[in-house]
Symmetry: C5
Subunit: 322 residues, 5 copies
């Protein structure tokens, strides 16, 4: 579905143009055309391939979707795949894709399986004509910057979640809930990680070493995007590392708690076993058991049982078993 198709000259919008007129503007020296599609059909892609002379393999990737994030050069055209991350109605993370074809005087973006509009990117770019004058490369930067910026709230949410778990990690009885939350957190981290890590490698090529011509003028801007990705990646690695330790610690806590339960069980079992053994002895049917005939035999026996149990209780208490 075509969202819009605009021609620019010297960083300023010329006009919304018709798809058929693209080739007319693309040919002019200071112009560039920026086309935005959404969930593009095969026909639309074929049309665009023809207009912009896109490479078969890149178009095929765009058609199939489910690509990993990457930046590929086909001659003087870049093919860029970005992952968008958003929450669906029941707060699960959904991964969408944005494909961008960036040539010397055109940008084609295709948004797939994502509800978040990219119109804001265009608006922001049009507000800064002195930057938009840098051409298609700057549009790519603006796009990448916008998408990467949308990862940060997820990172922040995950850091808060981890902190919330950490506060409960040494609590009694929270082990099951903690481990579930840690595992869920790990899963969400992997989603962002799959969006960020491959892009990180590719983004590095847009500002250091041999840089594609179309990005040449915007090196510092791409380094800024790269820096954001490095930051996200570092945070994700830190989170993963901490989750690993937290799972280990959680296991230790469960084992410690079980150990404490075992001790308490042992203590009470001991106390009652002693009482039962004493009672069993005086329940024997020997004829000659003189204490059975004492007037105060019974209270003495009860007292002795009570005292022994009390002594045991006190000793277990002191040694921390109870």
């Amino acid at each position: 579905m075509l969202i819009n198709c605009v021609a620019y000259r010297d960083g300023r919008k010329l006009a919304d143009i018709d798809v058929e007129d693209i080739s007319r503007y693309v040919g002019q020296p200071d112009c560039f055309v920026w086309v935005a599609l959404r969930d593009a059909s095969d026909a639309e892609l074929a049309k665009m391939q023809e207009e912009f002379g896109l490479h078969d393999l890149a178009v095929e990737d765009a058609r199939h979707g489910h690509q990993r994030p990457k930046v590929e050069e086909y001659g003087d055209t870049l093919f860029v795949v970005l992952h968008t991350v958003e929450l669906d109605a029941i707060d699960r993370m959904q991964v969408g894709e944005v494909h961008a074809f960036v040539g010397p005087n055109f940008v084609l973006t295709v948004r797939n399986r994502s509800h978040q509009s990219l119109l804001g990117v265009r608006e922001r770019a049009e507000r800064e004509p002195h930057l938009l004058r840098h051409g298609a490369g700057f549009v790519l930067y603006a796009l990448m910057d916008a998408i990467v910026d949308r990862y940060f709230p997820f990172i922040d949410a995950m850091e808060s979640e981890l902190e919330a778990i950490e506060e409960r990690i040494f609590e009694h009885g929270a082990a099951r809930a903690n481990i579930q939350r840690l595992y869920g957190l790990k899963q969400r981290i992997m989603v962002i990680k799959h969006a960020v890590t491959p892009l990180l490698e590719s983004a590095g090529k847009l500002w250091s070493g041999r840089v594609p011509a179309v990005c040449e003028d915007n090196r510092e801007y791409f380094r800024d995007v790269y820096d954001h990705l490095i930051r996200i990646n570092g945070t994700l690695d830190g989170l993963r590392d901490t989750i690993g330790t937290a799972i280990q610690v959680n296991l230790s806590m469960v084992t410690i708690e079980e150990s404490e339960t075992t001790k308490r069980l042992a203590a009470w079992a001991g106390i009652f076993a002693v009482a039962t053994a004493f009672a069993g002895v005086w329940g024997m049917n020997f004829e000659h058991m003189p204490e059975l005939k004492w007037a105060y035999g019974y209270p003495l026996a009860l007292g002795l049982i009570g005292a022994t149990c009390g002594l045991l209780y006190w000793r277990f208490r002191r040694s921390g078993w109870l």
Copy 2:
């Protein structure tokens, strides 16, 4: 066993030719010959070595089989080893091998221990003469692309399997089954990993840096294969990482469950130990135990025992032990 032997000119099939005529076609400038063998005998390999002038070491590797995936240059000829993965009758993964010798104007493929035909590769290539015109290099691409594409269903199946396990990972009593499935999954991942990782390194040399002459014209195609391999490899690494965490989490769950069982055991043991201790006391044979003579002594005793047990039950319940 010879499957077929075809000469091509300018990307179009000339004719099925006889093995004896190979040298006649190989000598012509725009021609190339594509020979396909299956589970080749030593004699067939020796014949081919003579026809195409293959290197001793490469032929020896092909004869022995059980090579790891690799791309080796012998002069202007490439020797490529690929692993095929398929399911046998009882759904176990079987690894086969495809060896390809690719020279400036010939391709020789040998398929070993694999039931999946490569005829589709030839058909697809013949349908696109404008691409097949790129010669032997393009045939190699088509072959690699076809084999790598066959890994994807396995990857998808493994991702589904992991998701299925994850859904049951926090379930009671599923620990044994989970751990068995996780271990089985890990084993299958290793099979694909052994096919993919070494190939990944080698495939990189077919499109970046100094590229063998025969692949020069098809760089972008090999980059596409490389990109698929990177994607598979990334997914496999993600799966492994998740399996590692899942095994750890599973161990935690077992320990948590055991801890819960221990607590429940402790609770019931406590309740019955109390009842037994009380009964033991009134079972003692002292002569002067006044309560034994009370008219309502017995029901009172039963009531006291019942009440104490009830109280314990209620407290264990409240603290989550029961």
Copy 3:
């Protein structure tokens, strides 16, 4: 908030100058201006951007804060982000930031969310005019050196803490406390790690390979800072590795202790179960139980019970269960 603004010539302080006069001094060949801000407002940053011609992206980073440590070149100006670490009132680690813009003849430092003054850096630099003569690059060195030196007390404290934990790691009953302390230590290490590791990579670029012009004369000084960072980083990695092992060992110790508790429980339970079983036998109501009528039946029975229990006790003791 402006802390101070000073012009230097040939390594010696000329005068405290007004912000408005900056451009006058910056233009002179042997002069440089060193401005220090604290928690700078947007207006102050805008003013500085104008005076020194700073790049939009760098200023934006300074405005937003929460950057990772880094060194970025914008033309002949460096933008450096450093993390400060200090303890707050209740001894928790707080991370602040210092941003430095370093040009051929100016240094602008902005301190954010940090209570520790950097005045000492200026004083030390002014005391050594023969070094300060190296210009803005030397100021950057002095700044980095001062901030990195402040990490060492934290490292030392963490090493002492780990040693203290290690002394108690094989103690009975210390497992819960140990695991809590180890986890807390791990968290603190991560804070320093986030300050050090990214800086390490960046600092390497200030002395080896292509070095920014402004640092050229001070290579050996930056190598010294780099060497400190390498040392801290190595220590942190060692600490992390040891903590990982310590957590594992702690888990083993808990399991060993639980095992010992289980054995002791088993032993005592066995002894009392034997006593109870004997007593139960003589408590049976059979009519023909001759030993019940013996004159010394009771003491004999008690003796037998006592002897059996004693024998068990001795055997458990010998096998280390008690």
Copy 4:
């Protein structure tokens, strides 16, 4: 101990020569001398050092032995250390060493602490004069190839062992045996790993990048050795990874089994505790316990006890505890 000392010309054996005559043959252009020693004495090494002009440090390494595998260049002479692995009388792995000094027209091999003869290498080389014509470099290849080939049976044995363990890993009661076998396997892997990994790095230098002159003509052969080493190394890494997971899984299985035992114990303890408690109640000595006087009181009581225990048994059974 001198094994043999042979002069070759143009890939063909000239004669068994005397150690004293070595220098006469080494001086001739197309000749090379191949000397084989075994557990060489210091005097023999000194003699050889003199004949071939070997470097002090290399000879010292050969004298001391216990070197790690390596390839070192001293001028135009290579010093190569290889590890041999063989089984002793009681099937334990024994590591021996082969030191090779390879110059432009000589090869000196010294075999230490190894019972496996290297005569086969010489025989095979002499059978292929067209290859042996490549000189000392080809002899080095033949030696490395032979020694590396001897690692494969160990690898195969270890893979079979791991498969055998994997088949029993989910079996009841096999945990102790499994963990012992896994640990033993890990130890054996480390032995091969120490032989292979350092050699892998060194062997890479014999075919890629700047290659020592003596190996120049045999690049493709050394690449073949390198490829074997890569394969072994990959297999070893796979084995280690799997062993790590298997140990983890084994621990999980032990914990699961313990959990099942605990449950069964809890169930039976519960059943008998109930019976004992009931019997205890009717063993009390209250005067007014009407059911004690019933004609069918005893069978009713037995029936009630039996029914309760039966009910418990059935419930435990249903919930999988028994």
Copy 5:
């Protein structure tokens, strides 16, 4: 404290000289001066800095001590930090430091916190004037070689210790001792690791790539040191890896043993619970319990209890619980 101060010419000792005369000898072309200090005071270091023109930063490092091992170039002077390891009176490892300043015609060594003399290095060097002729670089080699050689006994001791632990790792009841020894071993490994790993990186720069002028003539010697360090490092990594596995295995063994204890406990508890339940039944006070009146009721009852317990014992025995 000055140990000695000697001038050399052409590899031979000229004379013990006075510190004041150093500059006179340093100026002569074929001479070099070798000064050895121990726990040098600030004044001594200042004196040496003046005599040899040492860099401020290097001298400051030497003054502060507690440096990590490293090799730094200051102009044509090398500053080398080495760690010595020795045992103190109660067999704990103590780390000392040796700092060496190596210029074109001088060597200054400062030994700190170490009791082991370096005189042997000087003696050995003076015995080989043909090597000492290589000048200051050779002295550095001799120093590094001597210090690195002193690591080997520690490595050997640690390997023996690990073997001793491994022999007991599957023994009953050794878990606590094993884990303590493993942890202690890990700590000692880290000490050596901190001495070796940083030095390894630095030592590589003394023989490969751009080598400092002063080491140029001794490349092969430094490669030898490097090779020793690689060997130590590899052994340490192997030890660490094995310790990690051993700790894991130890945990498994503890869990297995606990599981066996639990089973044995369950078995005995079951046997006595059965005896107690039977006795309890015949201890009930029902009036109509015909077997109580049988002449052989008591021995029959005892026999039945004994037989049941015996049967249980036999079954538990058979299933390996006892």
